[in-house]
């Protein structure tokens, strides 16, 4: 992945979280949005993958957008029948869940052309897990710092939160810090994978050399025996 390219998993996840920062201000809401976004994203990607061979990438994106919009409309209607306070609150602006789906769709539609089914599945799952983790952390941090509660439970007596973190600029700051943490994890993972791959290559070369030496020795022994 390029250094500054939009097709960087951490970059896309951060963008996806930033697109719904105004409607997520508690841990419960973050978890509800996580569930909706992941479900809509995975189902829409599966539907669009059926026309991968016959349609252009822009047509596939249009298809993805329409499928995700239809799914979110259905979810909004279903939410209308559920009488749980958090779901009713999230349901009022659940349309915004379309934005992270559109942003996450860049990877399967525009970038990953030569992927095997296994790689595609692992990649989509990792992206979804990354989004869930970042959005849940974001929701928890915003709720603690902005409202002084976690899962609607007061943490410190007399601390009602700082208004700064309930505004967009505070949210951007939190997402920026979370992105740094995710970047550190991603870099460490990539370094370890690279080191692991290098070690595997090194051992493969060593095994090949040992096998060649053994073959040479055996050939020499056979020649001596024949002589």
């Amino acid at each position: 992945m390029e250094k500054n390219s939009p097709v960087n998993s951490v970059y896309l996840i951060a963008l996806a979280v930033s697109s719904i920062l105004l409607v997520v201000n508690s841990l419960y809401q973050a978890l509800i949005y996580c569930a909706v976004v992941v479900a809509v994203f995975l189902v829409s990607v599966c539907v669009v993958s059926m026309i991968e061979k016959v349609a252009d990438k822009h047509v596939r994106f249009l298809m993805f957008a329409l499928v995700s919009a239809a799914l979110i409309t259905i979810i909004k209607i279903v939410f209308g029948y559920i009488n749980v306070k958090e779901i009713v609150l999230a349901g009022e602006s659940i349309e915004f869940a379309c934005l992270p789906c559109l942003l996450l769709a860049i990877v399967p539609i525009y970038f990953e052309n030569n992927m095997s089914v296994k790689e595609f599945f692992v990649d989509s799952l990792l992206m979804s897990m990354g989004l869930v983790l970042m959005l849940a952390l974001y929701g928890a941090i915003i709720e603690i710092l902005g409202h002084g509660t976690i899962a609607n439970v007061q943490i410190f007596k007399g601390f009602a939160g700082v208004e700064f973190f309930t505004k967009a600029y505070g949210a951007f700051l939190v997402i920026g810090i979370l992105t740094i943490l995710f970047n550190i994890v991603r870099r460490t993972y990539l370094k370890k994978t690279r080191r692991y791959n290098m070690l595997v290559e090194k051992y493969k070369v060593q095994i090949r050399e040992i096998r060649d030496t053994q073959l040479r020795v055996r050939a020499g022994e056979r020649r001596d025996y024949n002589e």
Binding site: P6, A65, Y169, I175, G176
Partner: protein
């Protein structure tokens, strides 16, 4: 008149525009930090947002509200956003090959669609057509303002030595945070 002034101030300086513009700003600047590319891609976003927003408002007034089909708004908004983004992309393709290359390379089409949908969703459709048009125009002014402020700030912040994991993406969010604070303070003063 005061009502229009209030709408203008809210649209330009509200946190909505910063967050929906933020999706674009971070990406529009990512591929190549060129001032003209920023202007061209912002214009693409503005044209497609205004056109799709107006069409959604017309449909909302004459179809959705009349026949009680409000739940179809998201579906239509997404469809129009994609079509208008595609239209602006086609115009750009014929206007400048160099800009079109950058536009394609930075995956601006899907991101532009997301910005369009985001802006359409935050517009209040329960008012007159004129007010919706005005609000859309002010949102676009706010978007351009954020882009220009972001461009100037990010260029300076990027040249400062910082830790590797804090470069690029996190720095963009920190810059957006500063832009947000500036706009909030200006909005309060006005």
């Amino acid at each position: 008149m005061n009502e229009f002034a209030a709408v203008a101030l809210t649209a330009i300086f509200s946190s909505n525009i910063i967050s929906s513009a933020g999706v674009g700003t971070a990406t529009l600047q990512s591929e190549k930090r060129s001032f003209w590319f920023m202007v061209v891609s912002s214009l693409c976003v503005i044209v497609s947002t205004i056109l799709s927003g107006l069409l959604v408002s017309v449909l909302n007034t004459y179809v959705f509200a009349k026949f009680d089909l409000e739940y179809l708004r998201l579906f239509v908004a997404v469809l129009l956003a994609v079509i208008m983004a595609f239209l602006s992309r086609t115009i750009l393709k014929f206007a400048s090959q160099e800009m079109f290359y950058l536009y394609e390379k930075s995956y601006s089409f899907p991101i532009q669609t997301a910005i369009n949908v985001g802006t359409i969703l935050v517009i209040n459709y329960a008012t007159t057509f004129l007010k919706i048009m005005f609000e859309l125009a002010m949102f676009c002014v706010g978007f351009l303002l954020v882009q220009i402020l972001f461009y100037a700030l990010y260029e300076r912040l990027d040249s400062v030595n910082s830790l590797k994991p804090a470069r690029n993406i996190p720095l963009m969010f920190f810059t957006l945070s500063i832009v947000g604070i500036i706009l909030y303070v200006v909005g309060l003063i006005l």
